[in-house]
């Protein structure tokens, strides 16, 4: 297995976006931070719904925009999901300030609009970039997963873990 710093996917539908998110969720371990980048309507919430599915969380993942952060508990002892929308936060994200009722060491944190605000949260980070600029006429997106730190690059290198 070779370590990879990036892996790119063509994602044609919302269902395949959820499937890719689910693969990321299955690859996650406690304390992981995932930073989502992509314009309004790119599919960030759909991707996060997939992450929840991959983690084995049953409850509905709705937009965290209004409350800034929402904690989704795992019903049977798996990793909780902390879903953050950093769009309205003006300065570097301090998760402590959000009064989260979650143990961040055992949770998976997904930060939408977190570019430039969330990088300090963990030494190993997964950047997820959702881009549809080349697809004016269809629903397809290009999703790039990029590892920061060794933890994710090993996981990205495992071909069996990812949709083709």
């Amino acid at each position: 297995m070779t370590a990879l710093t990036t892996r790119r996917f063509a994602v044609p539908t919302a269902a395949s976006m959820r499937e890719l998110g689910s693969a990321v969720g299955r690859a996650c371990s406690g304390g992981d931070v995932i930073v989502l980048t992509g314009e309004l309507g790119a599919g960030k919430t759909t991707f996060t719904q997939g992450v929840a599915q991959g983690l084995g969380i049953d409850e509905a993942v709705t937009s965290p925009t209004f409350v800034i952060a929402r904690v989704h508990r795992h019903a049977s002892g798996g990793h909780d999901l902390v879903h953050v929308d950093a769009y309205r936060l003006g300065s570097a994200l301090e998760l402590d300030d959000l009064d989260l009722e979650a143990d961040l060491d055992t949770s998976v944190v997904v930060v939408e609009w977190g570019g430039g605000l969330a990088e300090h949260l963990s030494p190993t980070l997964l950047d997820v970039d959702i881009d549809r600029s080349d697809h004016e006429d269809d629903e397809e997106r290009t999703v790039t997963l990029a590892a920061r730190g060794t933890g994710w690059s090993a996981r990205l290198g495992d071909d069996a873990a990812w949709p083709t």
């Binding site: 709705t62 925009t65 409350v67 800034i68 936060l89 300030d97």
Partner: protein
């Protein structure tokens, strides 16, 4: 205290409005609101810590103003009600700590109540007791829920909710796509009046085959947001001007169409004769008009509180507290906690 018309002080601090309300039974005596929007503007957005501090600064003056407006003193109050959730935990804490302190100091009971249930019950202040049962549509920046309110407002059953974005959030995000200021709802409402609501056929979420069975009373606005983004970008890519008024009118029509269709379907299918709309989005003029038309056609009586009772406020909390006192519900234990996701089925702790 007189249990048929108790004087209840309501405290609301779940987001960025500090609200203090006083009611006597169904009668509204005071409804004071301080907003921390200006403070958030300095930071470029709502920051939970800033909201908490702003509540702390605003709550005591607001209490004083509410008493002055009602022409009474704090020790005339029979009971205290406070929003215990859902909302921002740090913001909720300010209200709850204040309520508990007042409860101990004045020797009166305290009720930690549900924010969502308050948005429905507030209508009793304007239109009298809610008939039994009633369907409530709660639409705001943070919530989109259909609730069945039964057994004399003591049983609240969630029928459906948004699967992704709240209705008010959909308005805000579309406004952002169109380059309109925040909050987007009022701007879309205004600009839509000059546009054609049939100009663009934007998708109605959860109206595909099978969705009606699987999600009979749920909402989804994420796909609408994506469709608007695509439509606007395609126009720009073609070098054509974006007809903002037509887009605003068509988006508003799509959101309001789904909200009112689900509301009427819930009433008809559950055999309910009365509908109530609450939350900030209830101020939308097209929602009011379409809901009136569709409810009238289906023989449903529609109740919509006036705008200052629709947005977050203390009077709605007091209204629910007054209900609980009159229903003989025991007060909350003094160690009740705030919770960011108090289920709507619980009126109070």
């Amino acid at each position: 205290m007189t249990t048929d018309a108790p004087v209840v002080l309501g405290i609301e601090t779940s987001c960025d409005e500090t609200g203090i309300g006083i009611v006597r039974g169904h009668e509204l005596l005071a409804n004071e609101i301080a907003s921390s929007v200006d403070e958030h503007a300095r930071f470029g957005g709502v920051v939970p810590e800033v909201a908490s501090r702003a509540h702390l600064e605003a709550i005591e003056p607001a209490l004083g103003r509410a008493c002055a407006t009602a022409g009474m003193r704090l020790d005339d109050v029979d009971a205290i009600a406070v929003t215990a959730g859902p909302g921002l935990v740090g913001a909720l804490l300010v209200g709850v700590a204040t309520a508990k302190a007042l409860s101990v100091a004045l020797g009166v009971p305290v009720y930690g109540v549900n924010h969502l249930a308050s948005h429905v019950v507030v209508d009793e202040l304007q239109h009298g007791p809610l008939p039994d049962p009633t369907v409530g549509l709660l639409v705001s920046g943070g919530h989109s829920s259909l609730l069945l309110v039964a057994d004399d407002v003591s049983t609240i059953t969630p029928l459906g909710q948004t699967l992704d974005d709240a209705a008010g959030e959909a308005f805000d995000k579309v406004a952002r796509l169109l380059g309109l200021p925040f909050p987007g709802g009022p701007w879309i409402d205004r600009i839509a009046r000059e546009g054609d609501p049939r100009a663009i056929a934007f998708p109605r979420g959860l109206s595909g085959p099978g969705d009606r069975d699987r999600y009979p009373y749920d909402f989804s606005f994420s796909g609408l947001k994506t469709a608007v983004a695509r439509w606007v970008r395609a126009k720009e890519a073609a070098g054509e001007p974006v007809p903002v008024a037509d887009v605003a009118a068509s988006v508003q029509e799509a959101i309001v169409d789904v909200l009112t269709a689900r509301l009427v379907a819930a009433c008809v299918e559950k055999g309910v004769g009365t509908a109530v709309i609450g939350g900030g989005v209830a101020a939308n003029s097209r929602l009011r008009t379409m809901a009136e038309e569709r409810c009238a056609a289906a023989g449903i009586s529609l109740r919509v509180p006036r705008p200052d009772l629709c947005t977050d406020n203390g009077a709605m909390v007091a209204a629910l507290g007054s209900r609980l006192v009159r229903d003989g519900v025991p007060p909350s234990p003094l160690d009740f906690v705030t919770t960011s996701n108090l289920p709507v089925t619980r009126r109070s702790w």
